[in-house]
Amino acid sequence: MNKEEFDISQELEQMRHDYAVLKERFDKQQIINEQLMENAMKKDVRRLFLSKKTAPVGVAIAILAVILSYVQGMAWWVTLSLIIFTVIFFPAVYWVYKGVREDEIYNGDILSTAETLRRFKKRYIAMESGICIFFFAFVIVATIFMTSMNISTELMWRRGILIVLLCLGTLTFEYYYAKRILNACDDIIGRLKMKDE
């Protein structure tokens, strides 16, 4: 063993010793208390993902909206848009959340958790982009039809521009946030797969 190797193994031994001291210090502490445990076990955690109860309610509302638009005699393109949205959106939600269970997401190994989160976030962004494109197309279609019906378009244009701006704002924010998550996941995956590839 040369001097350099001897130094690093001494350093590692020192680290192991320091770690034992640290564990001993923390062992003597109470750390957990009744309130803490109660909070962890009873608190309603902020949901990261859609709950199983939310999806059927969403489907019911969408179907009801389609029926109402038809019964109320709304323009055919409004009803058609609602149908298209319902038919495309709900399978997309299923695709995004497939294989992702919130109660198990952090139970897997580090590599598989990073891969799951990365896949989820990519799909989520794709779905959100799709929704924004849908609304964008809806605003254009609505404007064309309203104009052809000689309805005053000034207010509608304002609303349309507002919707498009909101869509773009949401997308920009989501892309920025997702980029951080994706970069972090890529870093974890890259590090851990360094040898295997």
Partner: protein, 159 residues
Amino acid sequence: MDNKEQAFTQLVREHKSTIYSVCYMFSKDTDEINDLFQEILIRLWMGYDSFRAESDVRTWIYRVALNCCLNADKKRRRGGESVPLSVDIDPFEDTDDRALQTKRLYARINQLGLVDRGIILLWLEGLSYEEIGAIMGITVKNVSFQLHRIKEELKKSKL
């Protein structure tokens, strides 16, 4: 408290210093330790049912704890106030001899990236390469490679 809650509380009590140590190594101050500790408890409780089918509790606790610590960095902080932990020491502020040893270790480990920090922590805990591999999701050969690389990094940072 029902039986399940009692068993879970006992489990956390037995591994509190392990969880606290992991939180400490991934935090910048005691508030962050508090937040992380509570996030880990919530995640452990949420996954408690699925864990009970597994065998090694220590491996499971490390998986959840490290996942929380690695993910805490890339997501928004959890809303709401944290419940204060029952701790008499402040690993960031105390200045006695043992605290200095702790700080020295913290400084060395914090030079490393997040993933490397996790691997070296598992090594310091005395886990086998098989256990480290199971927690990180990599092969034993890869664990050996990663540890060698981390040791090299520690050596470089020492120079």
